[in-house]
Symmetry: C2
Subunit: 409 residues, 2 copies
């Protein structure tokens, strides 16, 4: 939690965190300023036990004032003059960081956070330590300090995630409504608007999110048949919905302005599923339930990946545990934390050395799937689980798992 930042800095022996905001989206900066605060560029110097100082553009002085930080604008540091005096912008930004941290009394071990151009900042930071032998830019441990702080959500964060989840529930209901109102022409689904396509479903989903003020910054997955068998294939808008084919619908919208995400997957099919698809779906649903029933506070997250692999292997499916280059069977990790980014900590898959545990306050997806693109098949189901401070686990997802959706005729 945000309140843990000073103690985490203390534990790691770090004097200050320098959080750089370039024009690139920056969830940690948003975490510190609060979502809904629009700062294009800036710099937060967070000194342990002494609070944050925000350097901002004077054009954004109103947004900066809303953060509650100690403030200064770039002109206070003669930033433009620095850029004119130094030979390159890289040298200029290094001097700017030097002067700001020096005047704010920062010395010793510091953390540099933020997102932006990697090569350029490598040289900025290299030049900064050349200028300042008293500064050491710490190579942080894993998970990094801010990912660790962000890992435990407080009630107000979970409340935001629930709101986004409620809109997702409506989106899936709308998809079932559209399919349910269609009629089959041979194996193809159509309704008053014509053939019902993947693109049509995506538009219906997008409209529900739009009405609720949500964005889909990373798009979504609405993929049928063979495409459903390749986990990140986003699907083909021109495909007409076909009776009996699996449709994987993976939605991960976020609140506009850098807010919270939800992430959920269901697999549907128009009309009757083949026995093979029904069995796959049953197997994935059982594996999800098996994992949900097994969560224990403090347990190693990676153990659940092994558990699901074992579950699938016993039922005749191959898994990446057996062969990392596998393209059919169970071929990805079991889940990931979610919050201001769609992928945060903890990680429920990853390498066997993944250190994450099911800590109180964590919020994460559970998403087993089975993929057989060569047979036109893919099934994934994904819920979001909240590890409550009282040691229980709450499934935040309230969308039925049902596979088949009967058309009107």
């Amino acid at each position: 939690m945000r309140a843990d930042i000073d103690s985490l800095l203390g534990e790691r022996g770090i004097e200050a965190a320098v959080v750089v905001k370039t024009e690139t989206p920056n969830p940690t900066f948003t975490y510190l300023t609060g979502p809904g605060c629009h700062l294009t560029v800036g710099l937060i110097v967070w000194r342990r036990d002494r609070g944050g100082h925000l350097v901002h553009s004077k054009m954004e002085r109103d947004g900066a004032a809303a953060t509650g930080f100690e403030l200064s604008d770039f002109s206070r540091w003669s930033y433009r003059k620095i850029l004119e005096e130094e030979p390159t912008p890289v040298a200029g930004y290094a001097r700017f960081l030097d002067e700001v941290t020096r005047e704010l009394g920062v010395t010793g071990r510091i953390l540099v956070e933020g997102t932006g151009p990697l090569g350029q900042f490598h040289h900025i930071l290299r030049r900064l330590v050349e200028r300042r032998p008293d500064l050491e830019i710490v190579e942080d441990r894993d998970p990094s300090l801010f990912l660790q702080a962000r890992l435990s959500k407080d009630e107000s964060e979970v409340a935001e995630v629930r709101k986004v989840g409620a809109v997702c529930t409506r989106a899936y209901a709308r998809v079932r409504e559209v399919i349910g109102a269609g009629r089959l022409e041979g194996k193809k689904l159509r309704d008053a608007e014509g053939y019902v396509t993947i693109g049509r479903l995506r538009r219906e989903i997008r409209r529900i999110f739009f009405e609720a003020g949500l964005l889909e910054p990373e798009g979504n997955v609405v993929a049928m048949g063979r495409d459903a068998g390749v986990p990140h294939n986003v699907g083909n808008d021109d495909d007409v919905l076909l009776e009996g084919a699996p449709i994987v619908i993976d939605l991960f919208p976020a609140q506009a302005g850098g807010g919270y995400y939800f992430d959920v997957t269901r697999t549907y099919c128009v009309g009757r599923a083949t026995d093979e698809l029904r069995e796959l779906h049953r197997c994935v649903q059982d594996s999800l339930q098996d994992a949900l029933d097994a969560f224990e506070p403090g347990a190693r997250c990676r153990s659940y990946q092994d558990r699901v692999c074992e579950f699938f292997e016993k039922r005749g499916h191959r898994t990446t545990r057996q062969d990392d280059s596998l393209q059919e069977g169970y071929i990805h990790g079991l889940g990931h934390g979610i919050g201001l980014e769609v992928h945060e900590r903890p990680l429920l898959g990853g390498p066997t050395t993944n250190p994450d545990r099911l800590e109180p306050g964590s919020l994460f997806t559970v998403e087993p799937g089975l993929y057989y693109p060569s047979r036109g098949l893919g099934v994934r189901l994904e819920d979001i689980v909240y590890a409550r401070p009282d040691g229980t686990f709450e499934n935040l997802t309230t969308i039925p798992y049902d596979l088949e959706v009967a058309p009107a005729s």
Copy 2:
């Protein structure tokens, strides 16, 4: 242009560019793969005159295949095993970069590009050069190689920008339509839905963009009165539109899926403007026209900032040229390049040492403004100009400048 990358590498004496895709949006990576290509993570190794190699997730093998690059997936490099063998993810990624570049025959001076966590990659790159004394990570000149390549747009890119511009034209028309249909109740505007607020205008704009498949990844500015006088104040949704107050509307939507931006500003007022506002608006419009008439191919971009400062100073306004900490008058730069990011090169403001010139193919905004928040006033007008390869300049913006919008009664 994309076709210039090899010759730019040659000019700068660089053997290869390593472009890292983390989960952070990455316009240069999108530039190389083409917009609409959904790759969550990956790595492009672009060897001079030998083309690109893309390392991708096997879950995204369909998207990867669409790029036309030489391909391998992470498991080909035993990435998971590397993470298990190395003490930290930072050490693991450094070894992965080492092994990929080594096997692809990359040595000598390399460029590292991409966006992501700055502190973490500083240590990854530090460890990479420790492992590989034969590699030198070049401190690129300014503008960086890929910003230089992206600076000259080809016809297909300009065509995409025009499409986004056409939707903006509809959005401003809709705003004028809503105001024009309202009636004044005292100084407040209302219509059948109630008082017309800033939030209402924002929703109308958002709906136009939604219908056209555009996103507003960075939001927009719809700010009235005193808020219009602080350039990046996004405006207050609860404000009711008041007769005679300036409303700055700055829109910068983009195509969904990492496509092209437009960026345009108009300042409107409900009913009759005060003489003071009308004069300010006239002065800003004249300064814009003066700049548009003065553009010459190859001219220094920064000279137009000086020109506009002079224009305003002659008419009694203060400018940041006189005082960098200024908060009233003309307080920002004249413009910026636009493309896959809302702010690209060339820069028409910035430090006096800004080296940018009006090169053929560049696409940039021109946006003078005058700000007097203490008097409840702010005016900005912004057009997008294309420096055509034939040496002429084309204004891509077709939205009238008119300030006043008369309500129905």
